[in-house]
Symmetry: C2
Subunit: 188 residues, 2 copies
DNA sequence: AAGAAAATTTGATTTAAATCAAATTCTTAT
DNA sequence: ATAAGAATTTGATTTAAATCAAATTTTCTT
């Protein structure tokens, strides 16, 4: 339990014991089975998750296909999919691909913690910077890389993904089809 | 001059007069001519810009091609391209596509302002949230939209882009070639 | 205003990936 | 262990977009 905070503050920045205390009051540690859906489309009250154990994928529906948007593994955040700046409804689902243990935090509580503790807001800001960096990499990959190149970088970044995530979901994440990905990765 | 802060705080959130005062001490308002390069590849000391007037594009080199990464118009930020979390060198150039007026802020000063003023860090955090939202939209567009669809959304978002940005740069931003974009947009 | 340079369009062809379909392999539950 | 279902691969074909090349239009410069 304490080492959740340790993990996070080691990766981003240290914060005060008071902030950690208030934070610990607000989180829930929950376990869900494989295939559990964390968010339902059309919901406002999106929560913020951190994965202790397991894998999650975020997806949305486009022309009756599920488009995979994001993967999160151990020690990753699942960013809130709702745009709170606009107050827009979420059109995302978050599905667990394994039995998982998660840290759950309400968006409201997150905002309160940010308001009360400057250092907490700082920490949160750093996680957003990291997300921006990752998203920029992702854009670069989709913009001018071949399917093969995109797949190779993904494997490099998440070596376990091959065995933990269905190929169709990986294909979708990479902006291609399962058939194409199956063929491309067969070529060495 | 005051209305720069007004513009920004109206869009994101109000901040204290003290924060605004310190902020105003640190910024420079500068004018550059069209074609001016704001960042040179390999530089660490990336700055943070806000556009009062003009257009900028960020690009990087990939196999001797310039890949356009980001556009910024009036009242937009140009996010720092350096990943300060990693301390990585920037491999980005930022080029002005028109004679422009910009607000310039050092990355160091930005960090100091964040540290000194909680409300400033909050404001900054909100700008990052917005950037994440935009990047997610951009990923979605590259992932499963046709060139035509991507072009149409871009025009909708930035109606003036057609006349202010060369077609080749728009094509690159959309992850396609100039020839393809020229053809696709000709079809109504 | 004329010429040069840059940007855009058009043409012909090739290529990477999508689509539709079916077969095979791998998992899971009984 | 076996059947049922899910996931993955393989096959044939089509399609969107890339590439290479040249022509045309627009924009700058003197």
């Amino acid at each position: 339990m304490e080492n959740i905070f340790k993990k996070i503050t080691e990766e981003y920045c240290e914060i005060s014991p008071e902030a950690i205390f208030d934070w610990s009051e607000k989180i829930n540690i929950i376990e869900y089975k494989k295939k559990h859906l964390l968010t339902k489309e059309g919901s406002y009250s999106s929560k913020f998750y951190y994965i202790i154990k397991g894998v999650a994928r975020a997806y949305y529906l486009l022309d009756d296909k599920k488009v995979t948007d994001w993967f999160a593994f151990e020690n990753d955040f699942i960013p809130s999919t709702t745009n709170h700046l606009i107050g827009q409804k979420s059109n995302h689902y978050i599905e667990l691909l394994e039995d998982s243990i998660l840290v759950e935090l309400n968006h409201n509580d997150l905002e309160k913690l940010c308001k009360k503790h400057h250092d907490f807001e700082h920490l949160y800001r750093l996680t957003l910077s990291k997300a921006i960096y990752q998203l920029r990499e992702r854009v670069a990959s989709l913009q001018f890389r071949t399917v093969k190149q995109r797949y190779n970088s993904l494997i490099k970044l998440h070596p376990t993904i091959e065995s933990r995530v269905p190929l169709g979901d990986i294909a979708s994440f990479l902006g291609t089809t399962q058939e194409t990905l199956s063929r491309t990765r067969a070529l060495k």
